[in-house]
Symmetry: D2
Subunit: 367 residues, 4 copies
């Protein structure tokens, strides 16, 4: 029969979902080694399996978005599609965070009923989780070492290679950075965004400093605090107005995003009310949310480990709690996008865009 | 001193938030009437107050969106802003649904410690909730009566008038309906969307019917089921291809959205991958989510009432559980937008848009 | 080597969790049948697989609790253990409800990219879900028929038999009912709980009726409403004071729980402040929460189906939305425990327990 | 009319909830100072007001539990009641964590529309939040200083005094510590729990060390890791077996809970399957959950501040993000209860309790 006809074959829920295979893959050690299985080992296995299923889905989504953004020209249709897929990742991450709550219904004493059999298995051996980190753009040199060894020491040759390949290929971080760097209108004819922004900044700072200094509503001490809150070009705003300073900060590991991409992200944040910048802005927000959710998950994971084993050494040989807490602190990927907030100025101080740019950032037709 | 200077006056958290007023507004009846106050009455009051605070915020957001959409020409910037505000409403609604969980920590016996003092107060007397329903577009004639009386019988003259005024003014439903009706490109030069859609539909149905009938993979009984699942122009797709039939369904109360707005919503759903249709599509999805969340809240509320008082008569004199359940079933506002799914056909069957329209639906510039 | 020594063998995360098998069980039809796979079919598969994993866990927990309660004498230790396991089920159910949110990130149009390949697969074919219903105690005669056929028509002989066996064995409902019927102290020496409750009820109703009738604070109409809210022995409280009436209601399908178990549940609810009744009370509350969560899941599931396919016929041949909505309404299992709230009276009206019973309901030692 | 009669007066939802007062307490600065109010200032106010409402409820619950536990003899009924109230606190905390999500729907640029008017208001000025910390048991000497000043510098004299009074009175930490210290059966006739535990520990460690050393399933390196995971009396278990060491750790600020209370908490954790220890165990778990939720809230709060203002100085004059992150790390209150997990041994190694104690820990009657 023709291939086309196959499309009309029947399918059963059980086979379609591979349920015999799926529901046959729980093999509690205590059922094998003890007279009476530890009741909660099933939960322990299923919680981890659910994590791995969702990790597969996250990889599916992030890979597809990297594919769309890796292009020299990102198709306008791709932005909306990418946002939808990354928002889905955020929804999944929220579920993964909630799932910790279920693991916590297992008490430390119940865990001890089978914990000894797990040596030296550990979440550090989750290949898919490492893959997600690499796809998003966590770099080997920024990784916290684990028992003084590289993170991939627990994987076989083939998996090591796959992980390395992904690090060497374009990550989501890099693809977005490239795309940002190509943002038009930053310099356009006579218009120079950075120059306009700098002038607005100076104007605002001077006006505010004057007003604060002259007001009768504040004591001297309050004026000082208020000026500190205002900040100055010499402090927060310095780096972005100065390419050399930015490069220094990159070298020092304080920032990672390129100078040009940073400027573009600032531009998009400031002018996101323009119709066509709305989706790029939304994309940047979604990346921040992925980072935030990933970090929250690490934090909650660390809490859960602390609660489960206290200061005991983990089955994988490390202080689980300590390691996880450190990754929550250090393994940020899109931190520089959060940092853009430092550079924002109020809408009321924002320089108008030239009409020619506004027109291009508007829709072609009006509702 | 100048008005401008006032902007630099200091403000304390306590005053800014009106905390003396806010935290002084809990007056448990049992503290006044009993020797020993009922411990849980505080919770009862605070849960309801938190609801009312959030209702105020929802009204703030919906009113602003109605304002933006009530215009003869909706500004392109307004779409992004409106989506953000409506998405915020959805986030608030999710919180309100979670909040029921907190109320449920009060047991029925604890409620009985002060329930008698509440007569005839009841959630039916929440003015803001009625305002939200009216702003969204619930019409008086679709309301389920409550003890056989109009819903606004519990309010004073002034509040009755305000509620009526909102019903008479443009609701979110009506503003969106108007905006949809103005969607361009439904008919454009030679192009007639409805005609193209109808042809694609016929083509698809014929092809599928033939393939199903001829396949060897299905038994006769299965073929019959499969054809039923496919449907036909005479059933699901009928109404939208026939203005008279749609108007009949409107009269019968089966649909509410106008024929033209329905066609436009279908167009936006089918071609939402075009860059400029992405935000309109997102807006329609957000309206569906508001409806879904509102209905879920009603459903959970009914569950909670059932749990709290069983089949007792409510303090307001009605069977709370029964009434709430009925509103969960009937008080949908954007149901017709859900219904659009019935009319969709697979992307592979979708007729191409003429290039001239595609160009207009694209961004002005490319990343 | 000895069996004991095996306990010290090493284990890898990947093998322990059967990840090759688990992560190899996603087989999208569109990848097989189309040139380009439908991106969202992976999500569709993984969402359903995650459901099935958690169903397995729920079965694991409910089976163990039924095992503990099926005993002629339920061990006191078992109550605490059972509550913990059932509370875990509730936590899992909350996750399953959240998970619908993830499915909803798939739009109707994306679903259509592969929906045709799924015929006649459907969630109705989930064996584990039916198993959960049967374990909890849903009876065949209370099931809503599906396309006019018995619910198990979609399963093979072996699965049909397993489902039937569980129906014939003791369900959680029945095990709890038996345990409730054995509650001591309902009649104890001179003490007759039902008699004491009836007297308290009469006393309260008379006192309240008199106070309402005589107060100057209420108009005549308000007095009437207030008396209606109070209710009387002839209405809400009737059935529980009258075994014959209860049996009539059982026959009419209005209640399911036996008369004796209902009285015991009332006793536990009224005197749950006694130390030893705290855990039995908690158990009853947890059963209510399981029921509530199951029903909410059905409701949200129905919403999601409506959103996804509108009024189209489901892949399984039914109106998915309609069927699911009906099960949300009818497939309650522990509804009679909710109903206990109808029978409660305020603590201030509660007759004191005899000291001899209070002593037995107290802890042996004091902190 | 008699006082009793007042109980039958009517009440309206609007007055009962003080809605005129409640809904009249939102006073956006931008509405007063600007031509056009900043749309999102309403959200900013209402989010904070909702926090303060819930803080009031948390204080209501924690105060009542401290009241119940401050007694020389905690009534057995009080344990169940306290758990229910503390579990309610946890539910509220979960809501407060979700609420951050709503605040995050405000973008940094929208915040800048009114941020300047807030100086020097700040969440650091929340009196109720400090009260919660003090009621739970956060001690002044453990507080992280804020801009180098005591935390209460922002409050007036009266509030400073109230906060100080609560610090000087019994906190929840101290009340629970006292109650734990009074746990019976730790020493009872011939039975000495600590001695039995120590012997079981030695037995287990020797058996495990031997088995690990002798197994053929492990390499030498693996054996070393495995022994490290096992730990020894000289490391983790040391302190609890040695009062002097514990006191040293207390002095060094490593632990706070008294030696006797720690032993009791260990006893309750190990023997929590005994019927009467179930509720005390549950109480300890709930305290851990309160701590965990409080810390998660601080963490999410820090994330949100980072996202909102980046590295700008907060309106209150501090690096909000940095301060909050530090409190998430340091302001744990029940950390020592988490730490008990370190000391647990598997049930299979647990020494049997003497029958006379088991009897006392059992219920008086059997179901």
């Amino acid at each position: 029969m023709s291939d086309e006809s196959k499309k009309y074959a029947t399918v059963h829920y059980n086979n379609y979902l591979g349920l015999d295979q799926l529901l046959g893959s729980q093999k509690p050690k205590s059922a094998e080694l003890d007279v009476e299985p530890a009741h909660d080992e099933m939960l322990f296995i299923i919680v981890h399996q659910a994590y791995e299923l969702w990790f597969k889905q996250i990889i599916h989504e992030v890979e597809s978005v990297v594919g769309l953004f890796r292009q020299k020209k990102v198709h306008p249709r791709s932005i909306g599609v990418s946002i939808a897929r990354l928002e889905r990742v955020v929804e999944i991450q929220k579920l993964l965070i909630s799932q910790i709550r279920i693991m916590e219904t297992m008490t430390p004493l119940d865990f001890l009923d089978f914990r000894n059999y797990l040596f030296p298995a550990s979440g550090f051996q989750s290949y898919q989780f490492r893959m997600i980190e690499n796809l998003l753009g966590l770099e080997d040199e920024h990784r916290i070492t684990y028992n003084g060894e590289p993170y991939d020491v627990v994987f076989d040759k083939k998996k090591k290679k796959s992980l390395k390949d992904v690090v060497n290929a374009t990550s989501l971080f890099e693809a977005v950075e490239d795309w940002l760097e190509r943002t038009p209108f930053i310099e356009f004819g006579d218009y120079d965004f950075l120059d306009a922004y700098k002038k607005a900044l100076d104007r605002m700072l001077k006006k505010e400093q004057k007003a604060i200094t002259e007001t009768d509503y504040l004591t001297d001490q309050e004026k000082e605090m208020r000026l500190k809150m205002l900040g100055g070009t010499d402090t927060y705003f310095h780096a972005v107005l100065n390419k050399e300073a930015h490069i220094e900060r990159q070298k020092a590991g304080e920032v990672r995003l390129s100078y040009e991409a940073t400027i573009a992200a600032l531009f998009i944040n400031l002018y996101r009310d323009e119709p066509i910048l709305h989706l790029p802005f939304k994309l940047l927000v979604t990346l921040i949310e992925i980072d935030e959710a990933l970090t929250t998950w690490r934090y909650r994971h660390a809490q859960m480990v602390m609660r489960m084993i206290g200061n005991k050494i983990g089955t994988g040989g490390s202080s689980g709690h300590g390691y996880l807490n450190k990754t929550a602190e250090k393994h940020h990927i899109f931190k520089d996008l959060h940092g853009i907030s430092t550079l924002l100025i109020p809408r009321s101080e924002l320089p108008e865009l030239p009409q020619v740019i506004k027109d291009q950032l508007d829709f072609n037709f009006k509702h």
